[in-house]
């Protein structure tokens, strides 16, 4: 199949949805055929929106999603993985400069990686409360938080370590390898803070890193910790393809 020189239907839909890429916008400006296709697509979608059945569909949706009476729900990670909360947020940023990296160090300058990608600054991982943008705790249970990474434009893998040394992959949720970072460094989905101390590690790379191998490495390293895991005692060996890493520690706020 020969690649089309014109915008795909997905690109057209994204353009009509208000999230066109700059490249797509520029292409439409100079391509008469794509402008015509965009107009035709707009007419098609407008016609659908004008169908009586569309209004009925909207009413059906609103009825189906009407919230039930308030119920008490357990706090949990919306990604279905882990409990998180913070009394204080302590961020360690380290560059994986060798086996185990330098988890207790200060911020380190970014690097140039493979694939022509460049680091934008220091490797960083932070947890930000979405309600007010606060990046330091304590965060009460139930607070919605967002993971943010910085310093790298390609990919990241975020692991979590609980007080008992249990390691989990928390981003990408359910992923088998590191995920691509969006330009703003915000990792979806957001999470709900729940009780339980947690240490978060983000491993940055330009190529996919095996999530399960990294998780196992973190769990193995954490077995060497005498007490509560810290970056210093639980740092896993450098992973294949790893270009840098950053740590963040979270503690649960006392809900009382």
């Amino acid at each position: 199949m020969t690649p089309s020189p014109h915008l795909s239907r997905f690109a057209l839909d994204r353009s009509l949805g208000g999230s066109a890429s700059p490249e797509a916008d520029a292409h439409v400006q100079r391509c008469a055929e794509c402008r015509a296709r965009l107009d035709a697509r707009r007419r098609t979608l407008d016609a659908i929106a004008a169908e009586p059945a569309f209004a009925r569909g909207r009413a059906r949706l609103l009825t189906a999603t009407r919230p039930p009476p308030a119920i008490r729900r357990r706090w949990r990670w919306s990604a279905g993985a882990l409990a998180v909360a913070a009394v204080a947020v302590v961020v360690w940023v380290g560059l994986g400069g060798g086996p185990g990296g330098d988890p207790g160090g200060v911020t380190a300058p970014g690097r140039t990686g493979g694939d022509g990608l460049r680091a934008k600054g220091d490797f960083a991982l932070s947890v930000v409360r979405t309600a007010d943008g606060r990046a330091t705790g304590p965060f009460p249970p139930g607070a919605e938080v967002e993971l943010r990474v910085g310093g790298w434009q390609a990919a990241a893998l975020v692991l979590a370590l609980d007080d008992q040394g249990g390691a989990s992959v928390i981003w990408p949720p359910g992923g088998t390898e590191s995920g691509l970072i969006t330009a703003d460094g915000r990792l979806e989905p957001r999470f709900r803070v729940t009780p339980g101390d947690l240490l978060l590690l983000s491993i940055f790379s330009a190529t996919p890193i095996d999530a399960e191998a990294a998780r196992r490495a973190l769990a193995r390293s954490a077995r060497g910790c005498a007490g509560r895991p810290t970056p210093a005692c639980s740092a896993p060996p450098r992973q294949p393809g790893e270009l840098g890493r950053a740590w963040t520690a979270l503690r649960t706020a006392d809900p009382r």
Partner: protein, 158 residues
């Protein structure tokens, strides 16, 4: 529910036609297309955090739901190459369609999504990777494997 009624109304009004058009096109079944669009928006409304890329989310979710419908045999319509993707060589297009049909049931969910996005929608690998949230090279690797299997079947003949 994360979204308020007003937010959901706005989301559905803006993106519902895109979702419905896609479901109609993939399924060729009007009633099922409405049901699938409804279900996808119900799930979207239940997300704790609204997606920042609704079109990308809807492409993935609608594709997934349509494949699920095919699997449950609610729709007998086979996977078809889009007419405007048939290109100048109808024989090649027919061959590709028949062979892809033959390997369809051997594919896992991700491969099936890739096949739909590549051969039904005609999307480039970069957009497929973006929609599915995987690496472009992962898409390329899987496509190569699928096409290799399809080619082997074609060489085996009927």
């Amino acid at each position: 529910m994360t979204l308020s009624s007003d937010e959901l109304t706005e989301l559905y009004t803006r993106y519902g036609p895109i979702a419905l058009a896609r479901a109609r096109r993939l399924l060729g079944d009007e009633a099922l297309a409405w049901d699938i669009t409804h279900d996808v928006f119900v799930r979207l409304s239940a997300r704790r955090a609204p997606t920042r890329q609704p079109v990308r989310y809807l492409y993935r979710a609608i594709t997934h739901a349509c494949i699920d419908a095919w699997r449950r045999a609610e729709v007998r319509r086979p996977v078809e190459l889009d007419a405007d993707l048939a290109g100048p060589d109808p024989f090649a297009a027919t061959l590709a369609r028949d062979v892809l049909r033959a390997v369809w049931h051997e594919l896992d969910e991700t491969d099936q999504q890739i096949v739909v996005l590549r051969f039904v929608d005609g999307l480039p690998q970069s957009e497929i990777a973006e929609i599915l949230g995987v690496w472009r090279r992962t898409v390329g690797r899987r496509l190569k494997r699928i096409e290799g299997r399809a080619r082997a079947l074609a060489e085996e003949g009927p």
